[in-house]
């Protein structure tokens, strides 16, 4: 199994279950959860079913392309369903079958693992899914996002694509998996990993990123004041990425850390509130339409 087939199979499977297949968000994010298709769509009463691949950047995980498991930039297949269907676990297991995994021949277990993102003011409850002892998926019932209690509840399923491919192909190094037949992950990405690692740890200019953080924060606030939710959210994501770069660079002291995380969370909370207000003003357009009242009989 190569990486590309995995993506295609997951997309086809969830598409067949009525999910909208989104594209990756085009701003740097640390996890698939930060894509607006998850973070914003889990808010409010409207139903939402979507799946997408999201490349995520974690500068602190950089290993210069030398570590067989850790990457700055890795990819997740992210799936959200709101409200979570009653049989969501069964649907998930079926997705593994679609990947060619026969659950009867393996050990499949859901072990408690809760998720929390202080920068997003978000948390959820759920499991890590273990296949033969390997963590292949994070399964979360979202409880709060942007500090708001959620209802209805969204199920979020995150497949770590590189890990899953490695496991299915029983490869010892992420760089040895095939991206597509005939080309390995290493051939496609190894030099990138070296460069982004070196940038994050050695080259990034802390003064510039500090300044960018301030500017992004100010711009996010300006957008939100102007009632522009998505641009405001984009700049919030940029703040979060600036923080991650500064953190990897060792430019955030432990004391500052708490304060900076609080500032990003403050923005995320404002975005969440503004999004719900905006959807409400639009009459929550994705809510199922109420049947039209019977038309008055008209005189001819």
């Amino acid at each position: 199994m190569d990486l590309q087939s995995l993506i295609l199979k997951l997309s086809a499977y969830w598409s067949s279950k009525g999910c909208l297949i989104e594209q990756p968000w085009d701003v740097e994010v640390g996890a698939g959860t930060m894509h607006p298709a998850t973070f914003l769509r889990v808010l409010g009463p409207e139903p939402w079913n979507a799946g997408y691949v999201q490349p995520s950047r974690r500068p602190a995980d950089g290993r210069y392309g030398q570590n067989p498991f850790r990457l700055v930039k890795h990819q997740q297949f992210q799936l959200v369903m709101k409200p979570a269907p009653v049989d969501i676990q069964d649907l998930y297991v079926e997705s593994l079958v679609a990947l060619g995994i026969d659950p009867k021949e393996h050990d499949l277990r859901f072990e408690e693992d809760n998720w929390e993102s202080p920068t997003l003011g978000a948390w959820g409850v759920g499991w890590q899914v273990l296949l033969d002892g390997m963590e292949i998926t994070q399964f979360t019932y979202f409880q709060q996002a942007g500090g708001l209690d959620l209802a209805p509840i969204t199920a979020e399923i995150t497949y770590g694509l590189e890990r899953l491919t490695m496991f299915l192909a029983k490869k010892r190094s992420v760089y040895d998996i095939e991206w597509a037949p005939g080309i390995t992950y290493g051939e496609a990405r190894k030099q990138d990993e070296y460069e982004v690692s070196k940038y994050g740890f050695e080259v990034a200019d802390p003064a510039l990123w500090q300044l960018l953080f301030e500017k992004y924060e100010a711009e996010a606030k300006r957008c939100l004041e102007a009632g522009l939710v998505l641009p405001g959210y984009d700049f919030t994501l940029k703040c979060s990425h600036a923080f991650n770069i500064l953190d990897a660079r060792g430019a955030v002291s432990a004391t500052d850390r708490v304060g900076v995380i609080k500032r990003v969370r403050g923005l995320a909370v404002e975005c969440a509130k503004a999004y719900v207000a905006s959807r409400e003003a639009q009459g929550f357009p994705l809510l199922p339409k109420k049947p039209e009242p019977a038309a008055e009989p008209s005189d001819v």
Partner: protein
């Protein structure tokens, strides 16, 4: 008598909450059945997806109950001729009984009209339908979740509920799920729904559908399989009750696979391999004659692995983790612990108390002082160990295996050629981890362990960050327990207020004053001492009496507790305690008498005899107490018994003559104070 079955099928319930949830459910429903007069014996079962109650001997219906309801006073209920009045008729009507069912009963407040009423028992099924749902829905868990429309809140979403009384469905709703007789088997090994007719049928059908509901059976199977799989390669499974218990909560159909790993990994320290297997993968190591074999046992929620896929997957994960560990082991080795110290300056210990480099400096100084106070000769090893003890916090290995803090530092120090005393002290620094864990193996290790903990305790108490209730984010209770246990295990006499003052001095200015912190932290440590002494089986009142007398030196206090408890078994003790209480009672009413008792002013023979005994024994008691021969000292005190008895019989303490009275009080006070150096015997119950 009826049989009852409740099965709640949910999504996977966290293994950690299952033990508590079982107890909680059993207690709630048992109490409710007893209160509802349904009786019966309930048993709880569980799997990773189910909570189950099985009841036997449950009443089919509640027995009828007779109620007596008080109405108006008899004088208003019946007229002079004993005929019921309008008031009585109205009361009877309101209670739904006839006037003939009224009687007069003598209550404390006088004679009253009482209606006797028989409340017919209701069918058990009806009662259970009403009482059970709120009991389950209101169970609490450490981390609850909401699902669906956001309204239901429990540990995980509930999918089906079986509630049967003698095979008939007890109609009820749990989180909107209607009860019935339908359940489901194992998630991946069984398909389709199961229709169950009763308890026995339910057990049989679930077992056929690859679910073993009985925790004890699952555990026994794990143990049996572990022994068999280990024996196949000439080994034994590690004895690990905690892991077997955890496994049993993780599955519905218990299975184990044996996997192997590359023998080359055995070059890594065993601590790291074992922690990686146990903590990260919940795997059990296999040993032969104590030595690790390159193999492990991994849990599976199914038996059999015909294609070897499960073993293969677990082997892949294990070797990936071990490869990571080997990388850290080699890579960390490139930087010596000494050279990591500067990086501790960037690792915060606590916002106000500064970073770990500052902590290291303080602990080094404090450990040196303690070494001097405790006469530990090897102070150069103490200082060296204290200097390096926190350096492993900035290694990749500890970042990956936080549970191995200290152990990793010790292993690295050994690799770097540090003396045994030094690397072992670093290795043992977090011991004892609990009341049952051993203290550091050497004096050097014990001194640095004490200094590290007292530095933390003094600093956080100095900031007022004191544990409250169940909140103890800095694990100060464990740190305090460690301090006391190390002192007891080493038999080290350390004056706690002095040791705390040493630690506070090194912290410099803190929010709270030393005069506040020292007594408060001493009392906090004394509470841990009390806990350890109770755990050893000493009487609570003995401990109280001794600690009330003086608790500054825990070892001294422990010796006094042992002496008093031993003495309590002897015949002499009761008179000693009684005499102490009498002295205490008299002294409580008396003004503070100052000065030594003066034999010249003693007029009574019994008084002179007591004073004679006391003055003669005083020096001896002083010596025995100084040498901590508490039992012997208590023996001498007990020998005062007859003289004290005689004194109390013959002498009137509160004499008319003020100077005689004062002298008598002074005598009693001197004796009481001498006794109270061991314990405040008045605290001891008869």
């Amino acid at each position: 008598m009826s049989e009852f079955l409740l099965e709640i099928l949910a999504e996977e319930i966290p293994a950690g909450v299952l033990p508590g949830a079982r107890e909680d459910l059993l207690a709630r429903v048992s109490n409710a059945f007893a209160e509802a007069r349904l009786g019966g014996t309930l048993t709880v079962h569980s799997t990773s997806r189910r909570l189950i109650l099985v009841g036997e001997g449950v009443a089919e219906r509640q027995p009828d109950a007779t109620l007596e309801i008080t109405g108006p006073p008899a004088s208003r209920g019946f007229d002079a001729e004993g005929k019921p009045t309008q008031a009585a008729e109205g009361f009877a009507k309101a209670q739904g009984v006839s006037v003939d069912d009224l009687s007069v009963v003598q209550l404390p407040k006088g004679p009253y009209v009482v209606a006797k009423k028989t409340v017919p028992g209701r069918p058990a099924s009806e009662v259970i339908s009403e009482t059970l749902p709120p009991l389950v829905e209101k169970m609490t868990f450490p981390r609850m979740m909401r699902w669906g429309d956001g309204a239901p809140i429990w540990i995980r979403p509930v999918h089906s509920v079986v509630a049967l009384l003698d095979g008939l469905v007890v109609p009820l709703h749990l989180f909107g799920v209607e009860s019935g007789r339908t359940t489901y088997g194992h998630r991946t090994l069984a398909g389709g729904r199961l229709i169950v007719m009763g308890v026995a049928d339910w057990f049989a059908k679930l077992r056929a559908a690859r679910v073993e509901p009985d925790l004890a059976v699952r555990r026994a199977r794990f143990e049996e399989q572990a022994r068999a799989l280990a024996a196949e390669i000439g080994g034994e499974p590690a004895a690990d009750a905690t892991l077997f218990e955890a496994w049993s909560h993780l599955v519905e159909w218990p299975g184990l696979v044996r996997g192997a790993f590359d023998e080359a990994f055995l070059e890594l320290p065993e601590e790291i391999l074992v922690t990686s297997m146990r903590e990260h993968q919940k795997m059990l190591p296999i040993r032969r004659e104590g030595a690790l074999l390159p193999a492990f046992l991994a849990v599976a929620d199914q038996t059999g692995d015909p294609k070897g896929l499960i073993a293969q997957g677990n082997e892949w994960v294990t070797s990936a983790r071990f490869a990571d560990a080997r990388f850290f082991w080699d890579d960390d080795g490139k930087t010596k612990l000494e050279d990591r110290l500067s990086r501790l300056g960037r690792l915060q210990f606590q916002e106000t108390l500064g970073d770990y480099l500052k902590k290291t400096g303080r602990v080094q100084d404090l450990a040196e002082r303690f070494a001097a106070r405790l006469s530990v000769a090897d102070s150069s090893s103490v200082v060296r160990a204290a200097r390096l003890m926190k350096a492993d916090l900035v290694t990749d290995m500890v970042r990956e295996f936080p549970d191995l803090q200290g152990v990793v530092g010790g292993l690295y120090a050994r690799r770097e050629g540090e003396r045994d005393e030094v690397w072992q002290a670093i290795y043992d620094q977090y011991r004892p981890a609990s009341a049952d864990d051993a203290s550091p193996r050497s004096d050097v290790g014990a001194v640095v362990a004490l200094a590290d903990r007292l530095d933390t305790l003094a600093g956080l108490f100095g900031l007022g960050l004191v544990p409250t209730g169940s909140r103890d984010p800095y694990a100060l209770r464990r740190a305090a327990l460690g301090v006391v246990k190390v002192l007891l295990d080493r038999n080290w006499h350390l004056d706690l207020p002095i040791a705390i003052s040493d630690a506070l001095q090194l912290h410099g200015a803190l929010a709270r004053k030393r005069e506040e912190v020292v007594p408060e932290l001493t009392a906090f440590l004394t509470e841990r001492l009390r806990f350890l002494l109770e755990k050893k089986g000493h009487a609570a009142d003995t401990i109280e009496a001794v600690l009330a007398a003086d608790a500054r030196d825990p070892v001294d206090a422990a010796e006094r507790v042992a002496a008093v408890d031993a003495m309590r078994k002897e015949a002499d003790f009761a008179p000693l305690a009684a005499a102490f209480k009498r002295m205490q009672n008299i002294l409580a009413q008396a003004p503070d008498a100052l000065g030594e008792p003066d034999p010249a002013k003693m007029t009574d023979e019994a008084e002179q005899a007591l004073a004679g005994d006391y003055l003669q024994a005083r020096g001896m008691i002083d010596d025995l107490l100084a040498q901590r021969h508490f039992h012997d000292a208590l023996g001498i005190m007990a020998s005062f018994g007859p003289a004290l008895d005689r004194f109390f019989t013959e002498v009137h303490v509160m004499a008319e003559d003020e100077s005689v009275k004062a002298n008598r009080i002074a005598l009693l006070k001197a004796i009481r104070d001498q006794f109270a150096r061991v314990a405040k015997f008045a605290e001891i119950r008869g």
